[in-house]
């Protein structure tokens, strides 16, 4: 496959791995956080950690849109889906996330709710056109990457006068989350979690560019390398971070320059700006309530805002007490540190969001990497 296989070349990988091993100072430890769930997935799927020296470790960050959505928002979606007049269109990842009382969209569907899995907002628009007698709601989640496509759907719905379509918007913003991580007690005050540098989310940066991270590099003295999602991209980004740290530099570098520019995609940004505005505050799972960290639909498109149409009210719901998703999302715990990882909480029967989405730390670790830390039982006979 052109433009893919080149980034998965094992020989090249071993050369980059050798360079990392040669340049990583054996006298120091490099703790690097990959923010994005797509990176976490790739790191686990390709076994990248096997190729890194022991003093270069990856910390899995909060960048999975499914994982950071709080239970209360999911409950709002389930409440909507249960209305007989509503068809709820959702990305597949959301189906199995447990809501309050261990409900989920999957269970609501089995109970009779009309829930359709879609691959994008365009599919939801089509469902609305095909079902004029029903109310079709698009359950929009995701970071800056998916917000423009939701914006397109809202603009199209408005221009078509499509009255039976609305959007339940849950788009969140990356820089706010990085700031929350850096300000979190584990990282800033107590120092129990050391993050020496970040692998920046490449897909998000195709939209917002690399410039929004410059203040973190400057103010918090952490280097950031915006990275692509192929395993060689990530390896190269690790090498770039190691070099920055060795040289005492704290800059934003762009490894993913085949898709990302400093200023990003102006057209997409303008579209998002036209349709959305900042929410005063939004609760993130694991990171708490963060001001100006999410998007809401502007007044001009209020008629297509599901929250207003059904006067939905957000009720915070505490996470399951046994579940460590919150700490895992902040990098304060690893999946194996969670008491219920792999026992009460598995991909078949997830208790927390990190285990549901394939991009969640726990699911990626469970699916691809748990053999590393699972000791062989003593042989009998």
């Amino acid at each position: 496959m052109r433009y893919v296989d080149e980034y998965r070349d094992g020989d090249l990988a071993s050369r980059v791995a050798a360079a990392i091993a040669a340049e990583a100072d054996p006298g120091r430890h490099y703790a690097l956080m990959e923010f994005c769930g797509g990176h976490t997935h790739a790191i686990c799927r390709y076994g990248i950690e096997d190729l890194l020296p022991p003093n270069v470790t990856m910390i899995h960050g909060p960048g999975c849109p499914v994982c950071v959505l709080p239970i209360g928002r999911l409950d709002m979606a389930i409440e909507l889906a249960m209305r007989p007049e509503v068809i709820l269109c959702t990305y597949g990842d959301m189906m199995r996330v447990p809501g309050r009382d261990r409900t989920s969209l999957m269970k609501a569907k089995a109970g009779g709710a009309d829930i359709r899995m879609v691959y994008g907002s365009g599919d939801a628009l089509r469902v609305a056109r095909e079902n004029p007698g029903r109310e079709v709601v698009f359950f929009a989640i995701g970071f800056e990457t998916t917000a423009p496509t939701t914006a397109v759907a809202l603009v199209q719905a408005a221009s078509m006068g499509l009255r039976n379509f609305s959007v339940f918007a849950n788009h969140v913003l990356t820089p706010s989350a990085i700031q929350a991580i850096l300000d979190s007690p584990e990282v800033s005050a107590t120092g129990t979690v050391r993050v020496d540098g970040f692998i920046g989310p490449g897909h998000v940066s195709t939209i917002i560019g690399s410039a929004p991270y410059e203040r973190f590099a400057r103010d918090y003295r952490r280097p950031i390398v915006v990275s692509g999602f192929e395993p060689l991209d990530i390896m190269q980004s690790v090498l770039m971070l190691v070099r920055q740290l060795n040289g005492g530099r704290c800059e934003v570098e762009n490894q993913f320059n085949r898709a990302v520019s400093r200023d990003g995609n102006g057209k997409a940004q303008a579209l998002v700006e036209r349709v959305f505005e900042l929410r005063d505050s939004f609760e993130w799972r694991g990171l708490g309530t963060i001001p100006d960290s999410a998007l809401q639909i502007r007044e001009e498109f209020a008629d297509w805002d599901a929250e207003r149409r059904w006067q939905l009210r957000y009720v915070p719901v505490a996470d399951n007490r046994a579940c460590s998703c919150a700490q895992i999302l902040r990098g304060a715990k690893k999946p194996l540190d969670c008491a219920i990882f792999g026992t009460a909480c598995t991909p078949e029967n997830p208790m927390g969001s990190c285990m549901v989405s394939p991009e969640g730390s726990c699911a990626a670790y469970y699916l691809y990497g748990r053999w590393r830390d699972t000791p062989q039982r003593a042989k009998t006979g």
Binding site: D50, T346, W371
Partner: protein, 350 residues
Amino acid sequence: MMQDDRRPFTRKLDLKNGQVDMSHGSGGKAMAQLVEELFGAAFDNSLLARRNDQAVFDPPAGRLAVTTDSYVVSPLFFPGGDIGSLAIHGTVNDLAMAGARPLYLTAGFIIEEGFALRDLARIVASMAAAAAEAGVAIVTGDTKVVERGKGDGVFINTTGIGAVPPGVAPSGDRARPGDAVLVSGFVGDHGVAIMSTRENLSFETTIASDSAALHGLVAAMVDAVPDIHVLRDPTRGGLATTLNEIARQSGVGMLLDERAIPIRGEVAAACELLGLDPLYVANEGKLVAICAPGDAARLLDTMRGHPLGIDAAAIGTVIDDDHRFVQLQTTFGGKRIVDWLAGEQLPRIC
């Protein structure tokens, strides 16, 4: 068979414009006509021609294999096949995975009211052709009609009976550390072909389903290596799920080499686009074989000498592992688990 000159029904079934209605499942004359003019005509053989509620035959020598499977595929017609041929291939293959020679099949239809007789006839013709090609006879069957909205066009159940030659006993619990793991060709073709035609996911591809009856390939394989330890067709859940099933049944682990697993570029690309892993994508004309290391080269050669196994490959080794993990040495140089699939494979958000 019914003689043409007896003309038991005043009008022939309208296979061009007619639809299945509730009367076709009622057990009355309309059903008799459907069975006579459609199923009976297509599946024609001496046992079925007796029109009894069962088929009676002499058991073949040796051991028997029996299997049943239900087919609920959507869409009903897809590149490279349809639910009819699939219902034959799937059951024939389940028999073949015991090393058996398939002999007889039953066919049960659950049809939704309003289903076009034209489409039903197309499915039945395809079943008949697939059965003839596989050398099996459909000897008894059943027809039910459910109300509109209570089915998905048509569901088919097939049960199969086959004869297992002496000295052949492949079984999922017989994989042993050191054994070789072989696969008969490119994986993921069927699943990608089906997905390419699904509503709201249609994409252009030249990939056709690999749906095929594998008993001929298996016959050649057991002829060359009678003591094949395990045979299994990696259908729903794909190669990954099948290998995990075998690992669990046999109480062993496996170590696969990603470079060796045959995956077409187009399948890899489609999966890449959809965020799916081709190792979990369904196949309908592929098999996994596990054999003693000393038999591997001969078995692989035999597979490659058969049209349905020309792309066969040795993809890994059975290892000793209490946890029964299936591990993959990635092309990238790392290692990872190939785990059971949790629920359905779902596309990523971004």
